[in-house]
C-alpha cells in the first residue's frame, strides 16, 4: 500500500493504493465514482476513458500510483457548473446517442478529447477517433451525429432521428 493523491474533478483526493491497483479501480472502488465503467480486460472497449492531465486515457491501462499528482477528470466532472449537461452531453441526449448508457461515459470523454484536438471533425475523423470505444447498442449512427452536432456542425442532413 502506498499513498496516492490526485485532483479528481477539481477536488483533491487521496487514498491508499497497492502498486497494482488500476486507476479505474481506484476511481470506482475507493472514490466510488462509478460513472467510469469496465467493459473488458484487454484495453479494447473504452468504457473506462477518463482525462488525465487533459489527455484521454483508458483508466484500465494505468495504475493509480501513476496518476499520483495528476489532474483527473471523469464523467462525473463533465456537466456545467450549474449541473446542466454540457454541450457534448446535451448533444448525446438530443440525438439519442446512447441507449443502455454503459459505453456512454467513455464515449463522452473520448468525444471531448477529440473536439479539443479537432474542433470540426468530419464523419470519417469521428469514426476513426472512436476506434477504441465500443458501443453495442447504438450502431454508432447517433453517436457520430451527436459529436458532429456538439462541434457546431449542421447534422440536419444526416438521415432520420
Amino acid at each position: 500500500m502506498s499513498k496516492v493523491a490526485m485532483t479528481v474533478n477539481g477536488k483533491s483526493v487521496s487514498g491508499d493504493a497497492k502498486g497494482n491497483t488500476l486507476l479505474v479501480e481506484f476511481l470506482r472502488e475507493d472514490l466510488r465514482l462509478t460513472g467510469t465503467h469496465v467493459g473488458c480486460d484487454t484495453s479494447q472497449c473504452g468504457a473506462c476513458v477518463v482525462h488525465v492531465n487533459g489527455k484521454a486515457v483508458k483508466a484500465c491501462t494505468m495504475f493509480a500510483a501513476e496518476a499520483d499528482g495528476a489532474e483527473v477528470t471523469t464523467i462525473e466532472g463533465m456537466a456545467n457548473a450549474d449541473g446542466s449537461l454540457n454541450v457534448i452531453q446535451q448533444a448525446f441526449q438530443d440525438h439519442h446517442g446512447l441507449q443502455c448508457g454503459f459505453c456512454t461515459p467513455g464515449m463522452v470523454m473520448s468525444a471531448a478529447a477529440l473536439l479539443k484536438e479537432n474542433p470540426k471533425p468530419t464523419e470519417a475523423e469521428v469514426r476513426d477517433y472512436l476506434e477504441g470505444n465500443i458501443c453495442r447498442c447504438t450502431g454508432y449512427h447517433n453517436i457520430v451525429k451527436a459529436i458532429m452536432a456538439a462541434s457546431g456542425q449542421d447534422v440536419g442532413a444526416i438521415a432520420a432521428e
Binding site: 470506482r28 480486460d41 456537466a79 443502455c100 476506434e131 447504438t138 449512427h141
Partner: protein
C-alpha cells in the same frame, strides 16, 4: 409536424441525464456493506472427468472465507430449462442436468468447478491457484455432425446420445414437400452456416447475493432482463426459496440482447453463498469470463431447398438444420431453433408447402440460447439467401422474384402454423426502392470500378414474430412459463402516477416511452408519470423484456390498467359533477359533462379518491390504483425490406458497407426516435455478424475467441450512416396500441442483405461465387474469388 408529446412524439429520453453524468446505477456499482467476493475456478478443458479437487491449501490462505465445489450443491436443484420440445416421433427432448458447480465432469471450457469466497477478489483469485485439480481429459465433442455419429463420445453419459431432439415441422407436410421438390420445374439448393456469436452487451454480468437473518430474506442484485423470471426459476427450481423470501433486483442494465434473459449459475451461487457464509457475496464477470460463461447465440448448419414452378412461383421449401445447444440446455435454448425459427420459414412469401427439420445437438461448448432475433435471423438468412440464389440461377431480378411471391392478403395462415394478422410487404418494398435510389446504382458502380472496386447491391425482406404468445398455445408447444405481462398504475393523491411494469429496460428507454402512452390516454403531462421496473418487490409479476415484446405485451397491460383507472375516475368525476357517468368525457386532463361547461380537473378527481369526503363510498372503494395482466392473442409480425451497397476490394477481399437502407413496418410507433435507434443498433449487430464476428472453437473444444483481441466487434468505422424509415405502417390488429415491436428487426434483416450484396459485387467482377459463409472476412472473400477464378 411531429407531435411534441404523447404517442408518436420523439420525446427525449429522461434516463439519459443520469447515464450522461455518471449517475447510472448498474449492478457493479452496488457494494453491499461487508460484502465478500467470489472467484470461479473454471474448466480449462472442454471435456473431462473430475477425479478430485483438493482445496485444503487454498482454504488456509489469507482472506479465504469458504470454498465451494459441486459437493456443496448436491442437495440443491440444477439450473432449469424453461422449454420442453417434443420431437417428430412424439417423444420429449433429452434433458440433461445442469449443476450450479460441476459434478463429476466438466463439459465445456468455462464450466465452473469451484467457487472461492474471500474478503477480497485478489485473495479469492490467489486461492484459486492453490486448488489442486485432478481431471482426466476426455475427447471433446465439437462438430455437430460428428457428435451424432454412432460411437461418438457422449457429452452426458446418462443420455442415449448427443441428440437433444429431432424436430419436424410440420411433420404431416413431410411427404408432400418431398414430392413437390421432386416434381418442381426448378430447385435451388444452398448449404450454409449461421455462425456462433457472442451477444456482448458492454456491461458484463454481475451478481450480488445478500441474506438477512433477521427476516430470513434473500436478495439478489443481478444484470437481468427479467428479474421476476429469475426469482421464479432460482427460487422454485434451484434453491427452494419461496417468492416472499426472495427479492431479485436488476437496476440499470447495460445491454442484454437476450443473453441476460437466462438464469445463470453465478446468480444461484451468490444467493446461496450469501446465506451459507452469512456475508453478502459479489461476482463481477471479466470480459474473458463473459466469453466463456454468457450463453452464446446462433450456431446453425443448414441445407435449404427452394422449389419453383415454371412461372417462378415458390412451390415448396425444405430445410434441414443442425442446431448447437452447447453442453447444457440454457433457459430457453430448445425453443430457439424450433418455435422461433421453424414457424418463420414462410417469410414474406406464399410458399404453400414447407417442411423444417431441426436436429439439436449437445457439444462440449458454451450453451447456446437466444441472441437478438433468436431463430428469426437464422430463418431469414437461409430463406433470403436461397431466394437470391434462385433469382441468379433463373436470371430474374431479385426484387421482382420476391414481389411476385409476396403474401398480399391478410390475415394469412402460413403452412408453418402461424397466422400473420396484418402486413403490406409491397409498401415497405416501395419505400425501400424510393430511398435506396436504385436508378443511381449503375453510376455508383461505375465510379467504384474506376477506383478498382467491385460494387454490389443486395436486397432482403424479413418477417419477424414478436411478443411470443398466447400462453395457452405456447404451453402446448412446450413452454414452461406464461408469456403475458403486467402493469400496475398507481395514481397518487395529487395526480402524479407511478407505473410498475414487468418489462425491464436494458437500453430501450422505457422510462420515456411508457409514460408517453399513459400521458396520451389521460391528457396529462408526461413528466407527471414515472415508471418503476426491475425490482421484484415493487412490480407485479411480469415476464420482462426480450423478443421485442415490451410495448406490445407490457405496454398493452399498461393500457388496460390505465383504462380501468379512467373508468373509475369517470365514476368519481360523475359524482363530483352530479352528472351521469355515461356523460363524462376525459380530454386534456379534464373531466367534463358532455354538452355543458361543467368540468373537474384530473387532480380534483385523484384527490377525491384519496380524501373521499365527497365520494360515492357506497359504490366504489377509495384510492386509484389498478393492475392488469395482458396475454396477447397472437404474435405481432413486423416486416420490412432492406437494401445495401457494398464495395469489395478485389485485391484484398475487404468488404466495405457503403450504404444501408431499412424500410420497416412496425405498426404504430410510440417514440420514433427510439425506434430508429433500435433499428440502428440491430443493423450494426447484423453487419457485425455478416462481416466481422465469429465465435470459434478448435477441434479440442478450446475457445479461440475469448476476448476483444480475437472476437471482432463492429466499431464506428465499420459501419455507415444508415437510412431508416418506418412510415409504412399496418397496425397490429389484436393489441390495443396497434404496435408490433422493433428491437430485433435490424439484426434479423441485415446479414442476408450484406451477403447478397457481396455476392452481387463479386458477380459484377466475373467471379461466379454462389455463397460465402459469414463472417465474410477478407480472407474468406479472397479465397472464394480465387476458387472460381
Amino acid at each position: 409536424m411531429p407531435k411534441d408529446s404523447g404517442i408518436g412524439a420523439p420525446s427525449k429520453r429522461r434516463e439519459d441525464v443520469r447515464f450522461l453524468t455518471g449517475a447510472g446505477n448498474y449492478t457493479d456499482d452496488i457494494n453491499v456493506h461487508g460484502q465478500a467476493y467470489v472467484h470461479f475456478l473454471r474448466s480449462d478443458v472442454a471435456h473431462g472427468t473430475i477425479n478430485s479437487i483438493n482445496t485444503d491449501a487454498a482454504a488456509a490462505m489469507s482472506g479465504v472465507i469458504r470454498i465451494f465445489t459441486g459437493v456443496d450443491f448436491e442437495g440443491v436443484g440444477g439450473l432449469p430449462c424453461g422449454w420442453q420440445v417434443t420431437d417428430r416421433f412424439g417423444e420429449a427432448m433429452q434433458e440433461p442436468g445442469h449443476p450450479v458447480l460441476a459434478q463429476g465432469k466438466v463439459r465445456h471450457v468455462g464450466d465452473p468447478i469451484a467457487a472461492i469466497v474471500a474478503d477480497s477478489l485478489e485473495e479469492a483469485r490467489n486461492a484459486a491457484e492453490a486448488i489442486e485439480l485432478d481431471i482426466t481429459e476426455l475427447p471433446a465433442v465439437v462438430d455437430m455432425k460428428a457428435a451424432l455419429e454412432d460411437g461418438a463420445t457422449k457429452v452426458h453419459d446418462d443420455l442415449t446420445s448427443n441428440l437433444c431432439y429431432d424436430w419436424g415441422f410440420v411433420e404431416d407436410n413431410r411427404d408432400a414437400v418431398d414430392d413437390a421438390i421432386k416434381n418442381a420445374a426448378h430447385v435451388t439448393t444452398l448449404e450454409l452456416v449461421n455462425q456462433r456469436l457472442v451477444a456482448n452487451p458492454m456491461e458484463p454480468r454481475v451478481a450480488v447475493g445478500d441474506y438477512s437473518r433477521a427476516n430470513d430474506e434473500s436478495t439478489l442484485y443481478t444484470t437481468s432482463q427479467n428479474p421476476h423470471v429469475i426469482r421464479l426459476l432460482m427460487g422454485a427450481f434451484v434453491l427452494g426459496i419461496p417468492e416472499h423470501k426472495l427479492r431479485v433486483v436488476a437496476p440499470d442494465v447495460g445491454g442484454g440482447f437476450g443473453t441476460k434473459i437466462f438464469h445463470y449459475a453465478e446468480e444461484a451461487f451468490c444467493t446461496f453463498a450469501a446465506k451459507a457464509c452469512n456475508r453478502p457475496v459479489k461476482w463481477t464477470a471479466s470480459r474473458s469470463e463473459a466469453f466463456m460463461s454468457d450463453a452464446h447465440g446462433r450456431d446453425h448448419v443448414t441445407k435449404i431447398e427452394l422449389a419453383l414452378d415454371v412461372d417462378n412461383n415458390f412451390t415448396a421449401l425444405r430445410t434441414e438444420t443442425y442446431a448447437n445447444m452447447g453442453a447444457y440446455l440454457s433457459t430457453f435454448a430448445p425453443s430457439v431453433p424450433t418455435w422461433l425459427h421453424g414457424t418463420l420459414m414462410a417469410g414474406n412469401y406464399k410458399t404453400p408447402l414447407i417442411y423444417v427439420n431441426v436436429k439439436a445437438v449437445f457439444t462440449n461448448t458454451v450453451p447456446v440460447d437466444a441472441y437478438r432475433g433468436a431463430g428469426r435471423p437464422e430463418a431469414t438468412f437461409q430463406l433470403e439467401r436461397v431466394v437470391d440464389k434462385a433469382a441468379r440461377e433463373l436470371g430474374v431480378d431479385p426484387i421482382a422474384l420476391r414481389r411476385q411471391n409476396f403474401i398480399t392478403e391478410f390475415p394469412y395462415a402460413t403452412p408453418v402454423a402461424v397466422e400473420y394478422d396484418t402486413g403490406d410487404y409491397e409498401a415497405t418494398m416501395v419505400k425501400l426502392e424510393e430511398i435506396a435510389d436504385i436508378s443511381g446504382f449503375a453510376a455508383r458502380r461505375a465510379e467504384s470500378e474506376k477506383h478498382g472496386k467491385l460494387r454490389g447491391f443486395g436486397v432482403n425482406c424479413y418477417i419477424e414474430a414478436c411478443g411470443i404468445a398466447p400462453s395457452n398455445l405456447v404451453g402446448q408447444l412446450g413452454a414452461r412459463a406464461g408469456l403475458y405481462d403486467a402493469a400496475t398504475v398507481r395514481v397518487n393523491a395529487t395526480g402524479s402516477i407511478s407505473v410498475m411494469v414487468g418489462a425491464h429496460s436494458h437500453g430501450q428507454g422505457h422510462e420515456t416511452s411508457f409514460p408517453q402512452v399513459v400521458a396520451e390516454m389521460l391528457g396529462i403531462d408526461e413528466g407527471m408519470i414515472d415508471i418503476v421496473h426491475g425490482d421484484s418487490s415493487k412490480i407485479p409479476f411480469g415476464m420482462g423484456t426480450y423478443g421485442s415484446r415490451s410495448i406490445a405485451v407490457c405496454g398493452s397491460a399498461m393500457v388496460r390498467a390505465t383504462e380501468k383507472i379512467i373508468a373509475k375516475a369517470k365514476k368519481i368525476a360523475a359524482h363530483l359533477l352530479e352528472a351521469a357517468e355515461a356523460d363524462i368525457e376525459l380530454k386534456d386532463g379534464q373531466f367534463s359533462v358532455a354538452g355543458t361547461d361543467k368540468s373537474v380537473a384530473w387532480g380534483d378527481v385523484t384527490l377525491a379518491a384519496y380524501v373521499p369526503h365527497n365520494y360515492p363510498l357506497e359504490d366504489i372503494e377509495p384510492g386509484l390504483e389498478e393492475t392488469a395482466f395482458y396475454d396477447p392473442a397472437n404474435f405481432t409480425y413486423p416486416a420490412g425490406a432492406y437494401a445495401c451497397e457494398v464495395e469489395v476490394d478485389p485485391e484484398t477481399g475487404q468488404v466495405t458497407v457503403d450504404r444501408f437502407v431499412a424500410a420497416d413496418d412496425f405498426g404504430n410507433i410510440i417514440n420514433p426516435m427510439i425506434v430508429s435507434g433500435q433499428v440502428h443498433g440491430g443493423l450494426a449487430q447484423g453487419i457485425g455478424q455478416a462481416l466481422l464476428e465469429n465465435c470459434a472453437y478448435d477441434e479440442n473444444g478450446q475457445l479461440l475467441s475469448a476476448s476483444y483481441m480475437d472476437y471482432a466487434m463492429p466499431r464506428a468505422d465499420d459501419v455507415p450512416f444508415y437510412e431508416v424509415d418506418h412510415s409504412a405502417q399496418t397496425p397490429c390488429t389484436h393489441n390495443p396500441l396497434g404496435v408490433k415491436g422493433c428491437g430485433e428487426a435490424g439484426a434479423i434483416g441485415s446479414p442476408p442483405t450484406i451477403i447478397n450484396a457481396v455476392i452481387d459485387a463479386l458477380h459484377s467482377g466475373g467471379y461466379d461465387v454462389t455463397h460465402i459463409d459469414m463472417p465474410a472476412s477478407p480472407s474468406r472473400v479472397w479465397a472464394a474469388m480465387n476458387a472460381v477464378k
